[in-house]
């Protein structure tokens, strides 16, 4: 028998919820009326002889004295030997419960099932949940079949042509990736043949031990601490009461220590996966470094040691993505990521060429090689279309994305479509979201779903360019965008922190927890409700679809896919896309 005591003049809702849960679990309960005195309660307990007495009381207004008196009277009556006394309510903490003479205390946010578990002597459901969480395969169940045959035919033809073209060529990055893989397999550092393919700053770092500016080697003591920090695994994570897409957060503070601290906080606050951000100069520099390196500015340096440290710090069920998409080290980054145990990477020839600063010819060669490495490591990758942020219309970006998806399928890789879920320049200029932030985003996801049976992972991050420096507004926007993605049955979303619009310093751990809190609260609010877009969404779908068809048709008429990139078929200078120049002239025919 369990005695439920609402020692509060008005608030007994929580106890009634617990009563229902207990009875559903087969327990017998007695709920006392509210506002009984401690003496009256103990008198009832002496008659009932319950195994547990659950007391609910909001602290304050002399509540602590009342509770302490209740515990004292229970002692005096001799009922503590068979009755465990538990208190719950706002502001209750376990240590406070102990001070007041109770056996346990539950604070705000406690679910009825946690109380039932406690009474039955089982682990709390949230802890069980954390133990049982399994990594989700975002690509499971997708066939990669083009549902739209005409678009599929064009995309497949362009992919075939690009594959043949790329297989006849190589680049310093393609060769470095092979050398890096051999070195990793043999457990050694790279050799002089590798260094011959690197920029001077990288070569100097290997030969003299001097890291690039604004980076330094971690001390031996720091390395030891990093290992200890990483080994600490946290069981309990914030329970998710309602389904939401797989939640990714980005990290890349520059420092592996800070990254691990942020990752631990984010995962505890509900993140399912994390995305590694490297420094922007890493994309412009030929060659990757080795060693335990920390960086004073944004972006955490990709080295075998740094990646291993991050990997070690991740709870087993946390998905880990290392981006490889935009620079001069794309295939080698995939090799390092795959070898370090990353679950996902990121590759897109068009984005890296048109919005990432890398020469299209170079990234076409590197991108194909990177996809082959991703297939070798069985590592799915997203095809991010951030060139939209430069002003490229969504349809043009999607056209190249679909060619990349077709290409990935041909080399045995598993791509994930990553449309931007934001207020892009195209949208702002066209006034597409003057009424709401829903219609255009819905149209984008639905168009892709109509064309290809593939996973969709809106990003990156969702809500980009809708967030302000105000953390409440920023978190709310993130939460709503994540829920919109959930309504569209997106497989995952990448969310920003509430520092998204702040550029004056590094993102803080607290800012990461802000948006995670917002997403989970919004998911709780919407539950399985449906968000209905306006009729404009259908108009946007037609617009995007026609852009896709036009771009693919134009690309087919171009001399090659790469030439189509230079010619602006997938995003022109007028749109805001400029073919990158990094690595130009470095491709050679085999």
């Amino acid at each position: 028998m369990i005695l439920l005591v609402p020692l509060d003049p008005v608030h007994d809702v929580g106890l009634k919820m617990i009563k229902r849960a207990l009875e559903e679990a087969g327990h017998k309960t007695v709920l006392l009326p509210p506002d009984m005195t401690p003496s009256e309660i103990i008198a009832r307990a002496e008659k009932i002889r319950p195994s547990h007495m659950l007391v609910s009381r909001t602290l304050g207004y002399q509540a602590e004295e009342v509770l302490a008196r209740l515990a004292d009277l229970a002692d005096a009556a001799g009922i503590r030997e068979q009755t465990r006394m538990i208190i719950g309510g706002m502001a209750v903490r376990p240590e406070l419960a102990q001070e007041l003479g109770f056996d346990a205390g539950f604070g705000p946010g406690t679910s009825p099932s946690e109380v039932v578990a406690f009474i039955e002597g089982r682990p709390a459901p949230s802890a069980e949940c954390a133990h049982q969480r399994a990594k989700k395969d975002l690509t499971a169940g997708y066939t990669y079949r083009f549902k739209d045959e005409s678009v599929g035919r064009l995309a497949e033809q362009l992919a075939d042509e690009l594959l043949i073209w790329a297989d006849e060529r190589t680049s310093p990055a393609v060769e470095r990736a092979e050398l890096r893989y051999a070195a990793l397999m043999e457990g050694r550092s790279v050799g002089t043949d590798y260094l011959a393919l690197c920029d001077e700053v990288v070569r100097a770092a290997y030969l003299t031990g001097t890291p690039p500016k604004k980076t330094r080697h971690l001390t031996v003591d720091e390395q030891r601490h990093l290992g200890m920090l990483g080994e600490r695994q946290y069981v309990a994570s914030r329970p998710r009461s309602h389904p939401a897409p797989v939640l990714f957060v980005q990290y890349g503070t520059g420092c592996p220590f800070m990254d691990v601290a942020h990752i631990k906080a984010a995962v505890a606050w509900g993140a399912d996966g994390v995305v590694h951000f490297d420094p922007s100069w890493g994309a412009r520099t030929e060659g990757l470094l080795e060693g335990w390196l920390t960086h004073e500015e944004d972006g955490s340096v990709i080295t075998p040691e740094n990646l291993r440290a991050i990997r070690q710090a991740l709870e087993p069920w946390v998905l880990w993505q290392v981006r490889a998409h935009r620079g001069l080290n794309t295939p080698e980054t995939v090799v390092l990521a795959g070898h370090a145990g990353a679950d996902l990477t990121k590759i897109n020839i068009a984005y890296g060429s048109l919005g990432g600063g890398t020469d299209p010819e170079r990234l076409a060669v590197d991108g194909v090689a990177a996809m082959r490495w991703a297939a070798k490591f069985s590592m799915p990758f997203d095809i991010v279309t951030n060139e939209e942020l430069s002003g490229v219309p969504a349809g043009k970006a999607f056209a190249s994305m679909l060619v990349m998806a077709a290409l990935a399928k041909k080399v045995g890789a598993r791509p994930i479509l990553q449309p931007l879920f934001c207020n892009s320049p195209e949208v702002m200029i066209g006034g597409y979201m003057s009424d709401n932030y829903v219609d255009f985003n819905v149209a984008k996801v639905q168009v892709l779903r109509d064309i290809l049976d593939a996973p969709v992972w809106p990003g990156a991050p969702v809500g980009f360019l809708t967030q302000t420096e105000d953390r409440v507004q920023s978190s709310l926007m993130t939460g709503l965008h994540a829920c919109l993605a959930g309504f569209l049955r997106a497989d995952a979303v990448t969310i920003a922190s509430s520092d998204e619009a702040y550029s004056g310093g590094p993102i803080t751990a607290a800012a990461r927890t802000d948006t995670l809190t917002a997403v989970l609260a919004a998911a709780r609010f919407f539950g399985s409700c449906v968000i209905t877009p306006t009729a404009e969404a259908e108009r946007f779908k037609r617009l995007i679809y026609s852009q896709i068809c036009d771009a693919l048709t134009a690309a087919q008429k171009a001399p090659s896919f790469v030439q189509a990139l230079y010619d602006g078929v997938f995003g022109s200078r007028d749109d805001g896309a400029h073919p990158g120049r990094n690595g130009r002239g470095t491709v050679r025919v085999k």
């Binding site: 200890m228 920090l229 503070t253 420092c255 800070m258 960086h295 420096e469 953390r471 520092d499 310093g505």
Partner: protein
Amino acid sequence: MTLSHALSRVVDAIDIETFLLCGSAEEARKIALSMLLGLGFSDADVVSVEMNGPGARVRARTYVHRPGARYGWLGGADGGDVA
């Protein structure tokens, strides 16, 4: 616990968020920064400020540990092994 020990537990930054009665966003910015400087924090910035009606909602920030620094929370004489 000493102040320095307490600060060693800060992962990265401290934000002070409040509503200031003032005449402009610029005034709010200056007040917020002077508040942090007065508390002894030199690495101060204003993350957000919005002026409406009688005053401004402002959030000021000071970084206790920036990436790449040596963190108090990693342990040592003052910080203790808290990480």
